[in-house]
Amino acid sequence: MSDKPTKVYFYGTCLVDLFFPDAGMAGIQLLRQAGVEVIFPEGQTCCGQPAFNCGYWEEARDVARTQVALFPKDLPVILPSGSCAGMMKVHYPELFHSQPDEARVRAFSARVYELTQFLVDVLDVKLKDLGEPVKVTWHSSCHAVRDLGLKGEPQALIGQLSNVELAPLARTHECCGFGGTFSVRQPEISGAMSCDKAADAEATGASVLLSTDGGCLLNVNGTLEAKQSPLRVQHIAEFLWERTHAR
């Protein structure tokens, strides 16, 4: 037990900051509940992924540099997003390849974790379900799985909750169509993918769709709302926190 970190940094990400602050708060609470002190440095903006993915690497680097500088201590950096964690952990080293500060960035990248990954793989948390019986479905974010390499950590956490039934999507590994700038550069294909994902989620009979990623949630939620579906979406952190803390 002694080798488990007692202090971590939390990186909110821009989407959580603006659209899902409750998920960010919940993530911080989950870490605190597990006995970890959370530092939330001021000055957080964006990991830089949109510019990186569009080929504007200088701009992405400018932003990334300011973010890396916020986390000077050798502490884990926890993100409530698989996509942004993937950017910081996997793509920062590419982005900073041959840059003067490459070593510094690499050292930072090595400390990056997605929230559920940290809760399961590092903290090995045990959750106690205090909620009413509910049926949920799970959308696995492409970047969380394929970039960052999540191996079922979120599902394992949901599995710990005795009153939660997990109804899988028919196409659990298919992209929801968000893709960052893809959703506005190719709105027709993106929209078609999102509609299929929403229909898949509705067909599970679940009352809520969970995910690690704000981008996917924003996308699927907008699509569900447009078709006036009763299905809601929720960030996994918020869901876990709601069900496990004593009110």
Partner: protein, 477 residues
């Protein structure tokens, strides 16, 4: 042949999305292929080991590509295969034509070859008065309708049985209307066997070229490849210069992973190894075998350490079978020879990243393609790199059309984006406005307009996370 103006993927993709029949055909077909592939790899460790081995074999081949090509050429020549080189499709077409003309050949039966599609060989030969007939059933079907392949392995996958039945009854002499697949196949067999028998020449692609023995390997199920390469007196093969590997035993694992990845078959019906024309005392086989080795932009890809990975591709098509974009629009919407993720990688490099900038953005970067690629090509990474090339002229590469996709609007957008996000104080102000007034933004505002085609407008929270954490105090250092 290169387009001058940008080809907008968004336009053709949107059009394809409106065809529910097409979407249903592709979805059903891709689901089937995904399942069949998965069944071929029951053990994840075996799969990963085989992918690693295949990747290494392809990487090794590329590392010594010029030497292997020379060795391959020397051994082919020793075996009696005449080797020709072409820098461009135009040169390759002219080579095929002159080889045929030298033998007085007027008719050509073709086995499936994507390189010949790349060359637009059929149209070229027809303009010179030579009949070029596709003999792969799928290729034959689309040739009857003057179409191009919509998938690199299953060219007629966009068509259903009724469409083919109608087409055969109209276009094949004495054919009656039937939707029975066996009967339709029998009709094509009858027509094509007559053509094999009479053809002056046969053309094929090459799946693998073996340097050590000077061998052309062909993978197929139908037997039309063998017919095209063994029955006519003249066999012409065309191949991309990346196809060579050192040894036949290196081909074995590549072949194993190719058929499993492509169609979920453990093995194809035929694996045909051609190491020369009709030998002394042989009673059949072509009297002459010619091979045209095509560059067409490949040496340019080769020159770039990252983009070189493009050339590892063994053309299995698994990337398109698993692609959520391809599945919804099919192959024709790409307006390119190679559709799907492989096409998004290859086409811009062959035609120019500027004119194909929009195609490069026709991906959510979900990574499903790279996950199944048998030779582990990091397709999303390469797409991101090519997006950079499209908008930046000066990154020190030799990519065709680099920088020509740059627009002032996008430039400014990213400059402003970075200007705000690298200044936390500015971001703080922007976030404050977004959370207070984001709701008021009209759904018709630029970008939001695109988002709200199928979605409600995203509404920022009333207070940002940073704001709440500031209010909480304590957690900052």
């Amino acid at each position: 042949m290169h387009a001058e103006k940008e080809i907008l993927f968004r336009d053709s993709a949107s059009k394809a999305l409106l065809d529910p029949q097409l979407r249903a055909n592709f979805r059903r077909a891709m689901d089937g292929l995904i399942t069949k592939r998965r069944n071929q790899f029951p053990d994840p460790r075996d799969l990963q080991d085989l992918r690693d081995l295949s990747t290494t074999i392809r990487s090794r081949s590329l590392l010594s590509l010029p030497e292997l090509l020379e060795q391959f050429e020397a051994n082919c020549t020793k075996n009696g295969i005449k080797v020709h080189w072409a820098e461009t499709c135009e040169q390759a077409n002219n080579l095929v034509l002159s080889i045929m003309q030298a033998k007085g050949a007027k008719t050509l039966v073709k086995g499936k070859s994507m390189v010949s599609e790349e060359m637009h060989l059929n149209a070229f030969l027809e303009s010179k008065g030579i009949e070029a007939l596709e003999s792969d059933l799928g290729e034959y079907i689309i040739q009857l309708d003057g179409e191009t392949p919509s998938h690199i392995i299953m060219p007629a996958i966009h068509k259903n049985k009724d469409q083919i039945a109608r087409q055969f009854s109209q276009k094949i002499k004495d054919a009656k209307y039937t939707e029975d697949v066996d009967e339709l196949t029998a009709m094509a067999r009858k027509v094509l066997r007559e053509k094999f028998l009479k053809a002056d020449a046969g053309l094929s692609g090459v799946n693998f070229a073996v340097a050590e023995t000077g061998t052309l390997c062909l993978v197929e199920n139908e037997g039309n490849g063998r017919m095209s390469t063994h029955v006519p007196p003249l066999h012409i093969a065309v191949m991309g210069l990346e196809k060579v590997v050192a040894r036949l035993e290196d081909v074995a694992p590549l072949y194993a992973i190719l058929t499993r990845s492509a169609t979920g078959q453990a093995v194809s019906t035929y694996f045909n190894m051609i190491t020369g024309p009709r030998g002394t005392d042989e009673k059949d086989g072509p009297q002459e075998v010619h091979l045209v080795i095509l560059d067409n932009g490949r040496s340019r890809m080769y020159a770039d350490p990252q983009l070189r990975a493009t050339l590892r591709c063994i053309r299995c098509g698994a990337c398109m079978n698993h692609c959520p974009v391809y599945t919804r629009i099919g192959g024709h919407a790409y307006e390119a020879i190679y559709p799907g993720p492989i096409g998004k990688m290859v086409t811009p490099q062959m035609e120019g990243v500027g004119v194909r900038h929009d195609l490069l953005h026709g991906s959510s970067l979900c990574g499903a393609c790279a996950e199944v690629c048998p030779v582990e090509i990091p397709i999303p990474e390469i797409l991101v790199r090519l997006r950079r090339e499209a908008t930046h002229e000066d990154v020190g590469s030799n990519v065709l059309g680099r920088g020509t996709g740059r627009t002032g609007t996008e430039d400014w957008a990213w400059r402003i984006w970075a200007g705000v996000l690298k200044r936390p104080a500015l971001y703080r102000v922007a976030a404050w406005f977004a959370t207070r007034f984001g709701k008021a933004l009209p759904a018709s505002a630029p970008l939001i307009k695109n988002w709200t085609r199928t979605r409600t407008k995203p509404v920022p929270a009333r207070r940002s996370l940073s704001e709440r954490m500031r209010a909480e105090g304590g957690s900052h250092e």
